[in-house]
């Protein structure tokens, strides 16, 4: 009680900042002067982007790749990283303060009221004209790929961001279930494919392998890419069936999902503490060999495999297909890399040299930039062998004993605005290749494309969803843990309807239709 409440404190500091800076309105930027672009004077830009530091690289300011880029473009970038776990709040405070950086990456789409409003509010810049003039590489990509163009253009026709773009149009899935292969082998079981298979496997893990938590479930009882819930022919949240938008948690199939999870929970097949686990505690369970299955991204599994050897030298993780309800059923929902692969970088109205910056961004989509961002610096992080880039020992067998993903961001960029070759990693391990193969078997036709809402819609949407999220999160956990009987499911749906879920669905529907009708050049 003595400590000031966080909200008040933040608001107070926000407001005082505004007061001190006199609340001056942002002017719309002047038309780019051609003279600016030709002079190659050194400019400095401030770049806000979330980043996960590790022992090898504490911030992107230490990235040798960006230093190399600076040599080529004479653009000096000063990176500012928000505290981990507080990105959304810090982004919200950032765009509401007048102290905008030149570039905001990754959370740009969260602007309240949508991207079009951000442009209208004079916070982000509309990039169409700048791209026409100064970003030939990026423009070419848009012309070659209409779906990409659709995804970086808003309903009002604004191009607003430089995203990561997959060179391969169908990048494989990177999120899915992982299971203890050695346990399966010991027990003579084959990899589970249906929900019933899973039940059987988890049961045996529990009984014969003494697994304390046979399955690690996500904190909210549904994982964000719907790995288990999609077996029931629905999506984890909003999804589309054909061109009709639906909301998974009110569909009758969701009740079956909850019933299944409840059964598993009661029989001790699901981690008893799942609702209170943070990432660290979850990883501790995985690497101490107490669990038989979990859902994750493949890039993390190498670390887990290395860590678990300490407790159990025979332990082996393997990816498995996303479960279907019955053997042979199709799964329609999985993680998808949109053509606009996210990590979108927007240029703000504070930027004094948008032309130079657009040019700087464009570099990453050209030939030289492609090599730099994907492979790093020739001679340092890669060498050309038979006309193909090959990572050097710094990357693959780092002298400090660090793995590729730890050193990665020092020499190249893992995610950010560039043309990405997802194969630009040393060698996919067998696990990685298997994971991509198996997880991509699920179809993705239920996944909504990245749609935009109008300012009004998103106001209304967030007002509705604020309470709905609270209610849903609470009820889902109660259903799974048996605090509420499943007979209450109908009244749960009725309550969500009363909270105007139908209106939110309609909003999505309208946004989807606008998306489909977007005019792209």
């Amino acid at each position: 009680m003595k400590s000031k409440r966080l909200v008040t404190l933040l608001l107070a500091s926000l407001l005082s900042i505004m007061t001190l800076t006199g609340c001056n309105k942002t002017k719309t930027t002047e038309a780019p002067k051609d003279t600016d672009i030709n002079t190659n004077e050194k400019i400095t830009v401030k770049y806000w982007v979330p980043f996960t530091p590790n022992q090898y690289i504490k911030s992107l300011n230490e990235s040798l790749m960006y230093q190399e880029l600076e040599k080529k473009t004479n653009v000096h970038v000063v990176f500012d990283h928000p505290a981990e776990g507080q990105e959304t709040e810090q982004f919200n405070l950032l765009v509401n303060s007048k102290d905008l950086p030149d570039v905001i990456q990754t959370y740009a789409g969260e602007y309240k009221g949508g991207v079009d409003k951000a442009i209208k509010d004079g916070v982000y810049l509309r990039l169409n004209e700048l791209i026409d003039k100064y970003a030939p590489n990026f423009k070419k990509l848009l012309q070659e790929d209409p779906e990409l163009a659709r995804q970086v253009t808003t309903d009002e026709g604004n191009i607003y961001a430089f995203p990561v773009i997959g060179e391969d149009k169908n990048e494989p899935a990177w999120w899915g279930p992982v299971i203890r292969k050695d346990w399966l082998n010991d027990l003579g079981l084959k990899e589970p494919e249906s929900i019933d298979d899973w039940y059987n496997v988890l049961k045996q893990f529990k009984e014969k392998k003494n697994a304390q938590a046979p399955l690690m479930l996500g904190k909210k009882g549904i994982d964000s890419y719907g790995t288990l819930v999609s077996a029931f022919n629905i999506g984890p949240s909003f999804y589309k069936n054909g061109n009709t938008v639906k909301y998974g948690p009110i569909e009758p199939e969701f009740k079956d999902y909850l019933a299944t999870m409840n059964k598993w929970y009661n029989e001790g097949l699901i981690d008893k503490d799942f609702a209170t686990r943070d990432k660290k505690s979850r990883e501790a369970v995985i690497t101490s060999g107490k669990t038989g299955a979990f859902i994750t991204e493949y890039a993390l599994v190498d670390q887990y495999s290395a860590a678990i050897k300490g407790t159990d030298a025979k332990a082996e993780f393997a990816p498995t297909v996303q479960p279907a309800l019955k053997n042979g059923d199709k799964v329609h929902y999985r993680v998808v890399n949109n053509r606009n692969g996210g990590y979108e970088a927007v240029i703000t109205s504070s930027c004094k040299n948008p032309e130079r910056l657009v040019k700087w961004f464009d570099y990453a989509y050209g030939k030289e930039g492609y090599m730099l961002f994907n492979y790093g610096i020739e001679g340092t992080s890669y060498t050309m062998v038979d006309g193909k880039p090959k990572f050097t020992d710094i990357m693959t067998k780092n002298p400090d004993g660090l793995d590729f993903w730890t050193v990665c961001n020092k020499y190249k960029l893992e995610v950010g605005p560039y043309l990405r070759d997802y194969k630009a990693v040393p060698d996919f391990t067998k696990f990685d290749k298997d994971a991509m193969d198996k997880w991509t078997k699920a179809e993705a036709d239920y996944v909504l494309p990245p749609v935009n809402m109008t300012a009004e819609e998103s106001d209304n949407y967030s007002a509705i969803m604020g309470d709905i999220d609270t209610y849903r999160d609470e009820m889902v956990l109660k259903f799974i843990t048996g605090k509420e009987p499943l007979s209450k499911f109908d009244s749960y749906v009725a309550q969500l309807k009363k909270m105007r879920i139908d209106e939110a669905i309609k909003t999505y529907q309208a946004a989807l239709e606008r998306y489909n009708n977007r005019k792209i050049k």
């Binding site: 009680m1 003595k2 400590s3 000031k4 409440r5 966080l6 909200v7 008040t8 933040l10 608001l11 107070a12 500091s13 407001l15 005082s16 505004m18 007061t19 609340c23 309105k25 942002t26 959304t88 709040e89 919200n92 765009v95 509401n96 309240k112 509010d121 004079g122 916070v123 304390q212 904190k219 909210k220 008893k272 503490d273 609702a275 209170t276 943070d278 505690s281 967030s462 007002a463 604020g466 309470d467 999220d469 609270t470 209610y471 999160d473 609470e474 889902v476 956990l477 109660k478 843990t481 605090k483 909270m499």
Partner: protein, 318 residues
């Protein structure tokens, strides 16, 4: 002070003499005033100037239009809050959590101070004091991490309970346990720190009073009741009034670190609800409206408690 007040209110003719008094006081205490300047500047900058920002509670705040330029919407956000499905629940949780915290935490600090006061061995006393106020210096995040570990299914508490044949459960998923965990850990965190002010008050009691009491044949217990407690009563009352002013505000940090959807029915308080809705959903006007409401209630409670105390005990803040 009361006299001064009366002067201003009743005798406008004495204005000049008041001014003179202030001048004279200033001359005598100029260094004290000088020392107060940084704090006054601090409060003006960080407490008073930002205050005008609360008007966004009555406006549809848009960063582009600024605080003054945003359109007025009247009591819309207050109504939103009152009509929210979670209004009653968050208010109830906030009130109960802070009431129970006060009920357990407040006397605990007083009692600890009294007990420490009775200890005659200085070394032991100091050791106890240090140990009890150490938790105050541990980061809240660390404390909450410890609590989460202790209460998990295979955590310390459950391991002990298992020894008595009690089925282990994750205590942080049980709504009925949340208040107990929150408040008991809160007492542990703050008991030592909060007792410092009472210890200071205790050391201010005139030792001759104790001598007199001993001569009159009072034992340790009688001395405690008749000398010690009356001696620190004004401090206790002031602290109580201040605490009552904060009754309607429970900080969101610890709640957010400890709660999860399963315990929201007892753990979701106004500030955590506003945090989810306001800061994550960036609904600033709404958060400000609720914050203002909280402050208004706190202010009312403080005034009421102060008045009440003035009536019955003659001790008050002003």
């Amino acid at each position: 002070m009361a006299e001064l007040q009366a002067n201003i209110n009743n005798n406008p003719a004495h204005k000049s003499s008041l001014w003179k008094k202030i001048k004279k006081d200033f001359k005598i205490n100029k260094y004290v005033y000088l020392m107060a300047v940084p704090m006054i500047v601090f409060f003006i900058l960080f407490s008073y100037i930002p205050m005008y920002g609360v008007i966004i509670a009555f406006k549809n705040f848009s960063p582009k239009l600024g605080i003054l330029g945003s359109p007025w919407v009247g009591f819309k956000y207050f109504e939103n809050f009152f009509h929210s499905m979670y209004f009653a629940r968050t208010v109830k949780n906030t009130a109960l959590l802070s009431f129970y915290s006060l009920l357990w935490g407040f006397p605990a600090a007083v009692i600890l101070a009294l007990l420490l006061n009775e200890i005659r061995r200085e070394k032991f006393k100091r050791a106890v004091q240090t140990v009890t106020y150490l938790p105050h210096f541990i980061s809240l995040v660390v404390i909450c991490g410890m609590i989460v570990d202790f209460t998990s299914t295979d955590g310390l508490i459950n391991s002990i309970l298992a020894g008595f044949g009690i089925e282990p459960v994750n205590l942080l998923t049980k709504p009925e346990w949340f208040r107990t965990i929150y408040i008991s850990s809160g007492v542990w965190q703050s008991i030592g720190w909060d007792s410092i002010i009472y210890l200071a008050a205790l050391s201010g009691i005139d030792p001759t009073l104790y001598e007199a009491a001993t001569v009159d044949g009072a034992g340790r217990w009688k001395q405690l009741i008749n000398v010690t407690l009356p001696g620190i009563a004004p401090t206790i009352v002031i602290m109580l009034i201040l605490n009552i002013g904060g009754l309607m505000s429970v900080g969101s940090e610890k709640i957010i670190l400890l709660y999860n959807p399963m315990t929201w029915e007892t753990s979701d308080v106004i500030s955590s609800y506003v945090y989810r809705k306001g800061l994550i959903g960036s609904d600033y006007s709404f958060s400000t409206a609720v914050g203002l409401l909280e402050s208004a209630i706190g202010f009312t409670l403080l005034m009421a408690a102060n008045k009440f105390s003035k009536k019955i005990s003659e001790t008050s803040l002003w």
